[in-house]
């Protein structure tokens, strides 16, 4: 282990160590991970950039409260085992977070070094530590003595996994019920392999099992049993983290034509079912020469980049505002640009046109200009009269957002639901209108980020623990 003299840690290194990545053109045609990760040496060098400032503002930007300077200090010394143990005190999915967290708007946004220079690449060092552990063998964190309480966690996405890990560490017996055949939720079906390798997700899931968490896949709560029935069967509390699994459509003519996919379907076929390996894997996906992805968020970027990798000659983002309003992370937009994704901005389709077999052949689009700011503070798009034109496309992916999956909300008695179908739960505690039932993540907030869902999972676990303690008393 190299030693890092304290004096050396104070020396300011203004720029972040770059993240090695596959060449843009080459990677746009394969499903291997885009960012290949730091080496041990770069990880140490990047961690050494942290000046270990006293007020640790980075921590306020982390929804799961990781002790960032502490783990960076250990990583700077080359003590990766110590560093990952420190991270895992708070974060059950470090290999995931190191890859998909929007660090630029969280921890790194508040980094003291970042005021004048590049912030410390916190996420990159986190990723290295997590990968290091996954490749060298995992240390299972200690768990408290069994409490005898049983908790059901519905959904194994980021909220559910985090909640389950925290509860298991406190000695509660946790069972996760997952509707699909594999755990991970959106980490498995939604986020593409080239951004988040599925082996990494499964590595994290295996770690969770080592904590004693039971994962029942192929178990659709609301169908094989309701939340009420789970509680009757002996679960003392329930956490609902079923995500935003209901795809929205534009409600324009032609949306049910062949070749029109929801982003969920497009990504699920490709990621979860591995359609990019067809026919070695049985699930097919059909991709045209020219693909239009409707929407401008992270999911839209994922779909547009996936389309190129599946063999599309052209992949277009069609978005009705300008590039400044794109809701996707800056880094994702940049990656899409580098890989050759094209952007039709200030544009929105009015109808999708099919051929005699009911297969997409074109879209009629309308041009937009930006008007006054709307409720979200973004300038709202206004259609330009008479600007209709035909865009020839043979695949359309609708990526305009997702709502909460209604299966659990609809079948749970006494659970308050809002107008949009989201479960009403306190942001401070995750408590719902039903005693013993907590909820968090996209099913409460609407589609957001992995890390916010993890934060909600953490909050839910803390409240459930308190609830169970009070039950004991």
């Amino acid at each position: 282990m190299a030693d890092a003299p304290k004096a050396k840690a104070k020396k300011i290194v203004p720029t972040k160590n770059p993240m090695p990545a596959q060449d843009a053109l080459e990677r746009s045609r394969n499903f291997s991970e885009v960012a290949t990760g730091y080496t041990k040496e770069t990880a140490m060098a990047e961690a050494q950039r942290c000046i270990q400032c006293k007020n640790t503002p980075c921590r306020q930007g982390c929804p799961v409260e990781v002790e960032i300077p502490a783990f960076l200090k250990l990583a700077a010394e080359g003590d990766f085992a110590g560093a990952i143990a420190k991270i895992k005190e708070k974060n059950a999915l470090p290999a995931v977070c190191g890859r998909v967290c929007p660090q630029e708007s969280q921890c790194e946004k508040y980094c003291t070094l970042g005021k004048k220079h590049d912030p410390v690449g916190i996420g990159r060092v986190e990723r290295f530590c997590a990968d290091w552990e996954l490749s060298t063998g995992v240390n299972v964190p200690e768990t408290a003595a069994p409490t005898g309480f049983r908790v059901a966690v519905v959904g194994s996405g980021p909220a559910g996994l985090t909640c389950a890990a925290d509860l298991a560490k406190q000695g509660h017996k946790v069972t996760i019920f997952e509707a699909l055949h594999v755990a991970g939720g959106v980490l498995m079906y939604g986020i593409p392999e080239f951004r988040l390798p599925k082996a990494v997700v499964q590595g994290e899931v295996e770690n969770l099992k080592k904590l004693g968490v039971t994962i029942d896949v192929n178990s659709v709560v609301g169908k094989f049993a309701t939340v009420d029935e789970l509680m009757e069967e002996g679960f003392d509390a329930v956490f609902i983290g079923t995500g935003a699994g209901l795809p929205y459509f534009m409600k324009i003519p032609g949306e049910n034509l062949c070749g029109v996919y929801s982003a969920n379907e497009f990504l699920t076929r490709t990621n979860l079912m591995k359609a990019y390996l067809f026919p070695q894997c049985d699930t097919p996906i059909k991709i045209g020469k020219k693909v239009a992805v409707l929407g401008g968020g992270n999911v839209a970027m994922d779909a547009a980049r996936t389309a190129l990798r599946l063999g599309a000659e052209e992949s277009w983002i069609v978005y009705r505002r300008s590039d400044k309003e794109l809701p996707a992370r800056h880094e994702e937009v940049e990656h899409a640009h580098e890989e050759g994704v094209k952007f039709a901005l200030l544009t929105s389709p009015t109808k999708i046109i099919g051929d005699e077999n009911g297969v997409v052949k074109a879209m009629e689009c309308l041009k937009y200009e930006l008007g006054e700011p709307d409720a979200s503070g973004r300038r709202s798009p206004v259609a330009i009269k008479g600007s209709e034109y035909i865009m020839e496309v043979d695949t359309v992916v609708v990526a305009i957002g997702q709502g909460p999956n209604p299966l659990v909300p609809r079948t749970t008695k006494g659970l308050e639901i809002n107008r949009k179908g989201n479960i009403v739960a306190s942001t401070e505690t995750g408590a719902t209108s039903k005693a013993g039932v907590y909820a968090g993540g996209d099913v409460v907030t609407g589609a957001a980020t992995v890390i916010l869902a993890m934060g909600a999972g953490k909050v839910g676990a803390r409240s459930i623990h308190e609830y169970l303690q009070s039950k004991k008393a």
Partner: protein, 285 residues
């Protein structure tokens, strides 16, 4: 893993399996379906529940070999395991005492219609069953259907068993003989063209007709929207809003086109299965 406890071969292409799936068997109701995936490379396919035994914890499925997955499933035997088996999915059939109900099962559709007929009879209906198939060799469960229905009519397209005629011919005869005002409801399950034909007949008589749709699906829980179908001009998901719908409201042309979208890939997949070489192409898996 889900164990196949029993296999029955109705014909070279129609087979039955009892699968150990206690969680599904405990809560399923007639009209619902399951999704299975044979192995790690497998696709997820929906199959309507043909029967269940809550005590033994089993689900009965009946399937016709039409593509790669159903052929692979058909080659499995009792004692083998299916990797994934999830359910019950979809909404159960609406069961109440309607009066006289015609229940039609065409081909492999005899299987899913069976528990519905049984429940309807139990609810006090006079269940007039009609089952049919292309020929006598493809017909199955005549005995079970006779028990589930108040009366049963059997027909074959080629006349090789009982009588010649389509199920629609028999249905028309019954409606004519008894009067359309004496029929409260028609339930028709089978291949798409058969359900569509039934709807065309009942529409003339103004008889409400419930069909069970088989659309392409991936997750089966309302997440992907692959199974969307237009019903009365509105987009519905077969997996969570169905699988049963008012057949007179279904956009059959759209459903049939959507169902055919992956036909080339399905063919390729099927060919790969029957192709054995050692070149590493994945054939003969």
């Amino acid at each position: 893993m889900y164990k196949i406890l029993r296999k029955e071969v109705f014909s070279p292409i129609i087979k039955l399996m009892d699968v150990e799936a206690p969680k599904v068997a405990k809560s399923c109701r007639s009209g619902q379906f399951i999704i299975l995936r044979i192995d790690d490379q497998g696709e997820r396919i929906p199959l309507t529940i043909a029967d269940y035994d809550r005590e033994k914890g089993t689900i009965t499925i009946v399937f016709q070999e039409v593509g790669k997955t159903t052929e692979q499933l058909g080659a499995m035997e009792a004692g083998d395991y299916i990797k994934d088996f999830v359910g019950p999915l979809g909404e159960p059939s609406h069961i109440e005492n309607f009066g006289n109900v015609i229940v039609v099962g065409g081909g492999v559709g005899i299987a899913p219609v069976h528990p519905i007929a049984r429940d309807l009879k139990e609810a006090g209906n006079n269940v007039i069953g009609i089952i049919g198939s292309r020929n006598g060799d493809l017909l199955f469960w005549e005995d079970k259907m006779r028990e589930a229905c108040s009366e049963l009519h059997v027909t074959t397209d080629d006349g090789s068993y009982v009588r010649k005629g389509f199920v629609t011919d028999v249905m028309k005869e019954i409606i004519e003989a008894r009067g359309k005002e004496n029929i409260a409801l028609v339930i028709a399950i089978g291949p798409q063209p058969m359900m569509r034909a039934c709807c065309n007949v009942t529409k003339e008589y103004g008889l409400k007709t419930v069909v069970s749709l088989n659309a392409l699906m991936v997750d089966g829980t309302g997440m992907c929207g692959c199974c969307r179908v237009s019903v009365d001009g509105e987009t519905k998901f077969v997996c969570v809003d169905g699988p049963e719908f008012d057949g007179h409201q279904v956009d059959w042309a759209e459903l049939s086109k959507r169902g055919a979208y992956f036909r080339d890939e399905e063919q390729k997949s099927k060919e790969m299965r029957n192709h054995t070489c050692k070149c590493g192409c994945g054939g003969g898996k």
